[in-house]
């Protein structure tokens, strides 16, 4: 399958060692199947010595070669900081077609760790719908009856913000089981201070209950 190329439409800057090394109004984002999106920019908008040292190339199978032509891909890790206009972008380049919706839900959510029920939460749950990712359920931490501790794992999403990871004991081992966002990005501000269990590790079951509809 082919890559997709989208115009970014905003100013993009990258900073390395305190120095602006990319400053462009003409960036595109290249999204290849199974890979993280990547910025590609006109070489004229990149610091010369930085460019020689770090730039990659845009995949030649890009859908709209015209957009990608004459641009070089800059690996995310080559710069220390990236800015969309004056806002920092964390984690990796943003795909402009990747949407996140945080929705309040009245569904009851049950969470089991190693078969044991650790949370039964309703009333303040939020479901996160993210393009191409499974749904995630977020609950108040007070509804969780497990020995949660901060993990050493660090991650950041350009759509959600910087994640705090949590471990819990499963069969005697401490395992990463959940994430929370202390300062979620504005578009998902509802997630603040809620915690979400990884559906690959925990059993997370939303249960539809009544909503003025006479069901359940």
């Amino acid at each position: 399958m082919n890559s997709r190329v989208d115009r970014l439409g905003h100013r993009l800057r990258a900073v390395r060692d305190g120095r602006v090394v990319v400053d462009t109004l003409d960036a595109v984002v290249v999204t290849a199947p199974g890979e993280l999106p990547q910025y590609a920019v006109p070489p004229a908008d990149v610091d010369g010595s930085f460019l020689r040292g770090t730039a990659g190339t845009v995949p030649t199978d890009a859908v709209d070669a015209a957009h990608a032509a004459d641009r070089v891909a800059i690996p995310w890790a080559a710069a220390d900081r990236w800015y969309a206009e004056d806002d920092e972008v964390v984690g990796h380049a943003r795909d402009p077609r990747h949407r996140v919706d945080a929705l309040r839900s009245s569904r009851l959510v049950e969470v089991r760790l190693g078969g044991e029920l650790v949370a039964r939460s309703g009333g303040h749950t939020v479901v996160l719908l993210e393009t191409d990712r499974p749904n995630r359920w977020f609950l108040p931490r007070v509804d969780v009856n497990a020995d949660l501790r901060r993990s050493g794992t660090v991650s950041a999403s350009p759509y959600l913000g910087v994640a705090t990871h949590w471990t819990a004991p499963i069969d005697g081992d401490r395992v990463d089981v959940a994430v929370s966002y202390r300062a979620p990005l504005p578009a998902v501000a509802l997630l603040e201070n809620l915690i979400s269990f990884d559906p690959d590790v925990a059993e997370v079951a939303p249960i539809t209950n009544g909503g003025g509809d006479g069901r359940g």
């Binding site: 439409g9 949407r99 749904n135 909503g211």
Partner: protein, 294 residues
């Protein structure tokens, strides 16, 4: 890049694409929940906003009465319409099905859809959604910017700001510049009665610009109570770059070729007296893109 408000190239392509909505979908009219489904699908059709279809078993089909009416669609096959019989009234042409989609189109067997505007309210999980379902492929970013945005009409300065918010929507609409009220020239803007609604941003009200005897209608808009996802744009107004002269960091913007550029700033707004206007509501979001065809 083609303007497609739906699945991109990483998914099956075609004029019509159907995907699970992955959220509980409900709709209410006259106090009756006529749709309540965990198994809704979102249908994307080129040139149209997304639509929800639900299994017939998740809709109050007991209130539906089939009609003789069948209308043609190219991509989804004939639409067969039903009236909705409520205790106090009948809503004609409230729902439709596609029993016979053309070859190559996804099957819509057992699914039914309702006219958005004829029902009172729609919900994703517990959140009300206005105008039409949001596409999971339409991202909206509001970015703080320090670029210099200068706006003129007929040679008169309307706004001059060094602290715009730049709103990007869907990867295909032009960047929009939201400017703080304090950076707008005083005395030029007059309130208009027009409004529009958007499932991503909320309900917009409009402003006319008066320069001498000339009035430029609806060339500035504002989301006074934006949806919380884009809360940053509160207190800001946005000039139609299609109808004003704008410089960004001293460079003149080319007026973009959008649907508004072709149809005028009023083409997609509503005013009192319009068919969709409902004085019973202080805010009325009824009516999607008026030029959308079914």
């Amino acid at each position: 890049m083609a303007e497609v408000d739906g699945p991109g190239i990483h998914r099956p392509t075609g004029h019509v694409v159907v995907e699970p909505a992955r959220r509980r979908v409900r709709a209410i009219v006259d106090g009756i929940w006529v749709i309540d489904s965990d198994d809704a699908v979102t249908l994307y059709e080129q040139g149209s906003t997304p639509r929800w279809y639900v299994p017939r078993t998740d809709a109050r089909t007991d209130l539906l009465v089939a009609t003789e009416l069948t209308t043609a669609t190219t991509a989804r096959g004939p639409a067969v319409w039903s009236d909705l019989h409520l205790p106090e009234r009948v809503i004609e042409r409230a729902a439709w099905q596609h029993p016979d989609p053309p070859a190559g189109a996804p099957s819509l067997d057992g699914l039914i859809s309702f006219e958005w505007n004829l029902l009172d309210a729609w919900f994703e999980e517990d959140e009300e959604i206005i105008v039409h379902p949001r596409s999971p492929y339409t991202r909206v970013d509001v970015l703080r910017s320090s670029r210099h945005v200068h706006v003129e009409l007929d040679g008169t300065v309307v706004a001059d700001s060094r602290r715009p918010l730049i709103l990007l929507e869907g990867g295909h609409n032009p960047a929009r510049y939201y400017l703080p009220w304090s950076d707008i020239t005083r005395g030029l803007l007059e309130p208009s009665e027009s409004f529009t609604a958007c499932p991503y941003k909320g309900v917009a009200s409009y402003w006319n610009v008066r320069i001498g005897d000339a009035v430029f209608h609806d060339v500035v808009w504002e989301y006074r109570e934006p949806l919380w996802q884009v809360a940053r744009i509160a207190g800001h107004v946005c000039p139609f770059i299609e109808f004003t002269d704008v410089w960004v960091d001293g460079v003149a913007l080319e007026r973009p070729e959008t649907k508004w550029a072709h149809h005028g700033p009023n083409a997609y707004t509503w005013r009192p007296g319009d068919a969709a206007w409902d004085p019973q509501r202080d805010v009325d979001w009824r009516g999607d893109d008026r030029h959308a065809s079914r």
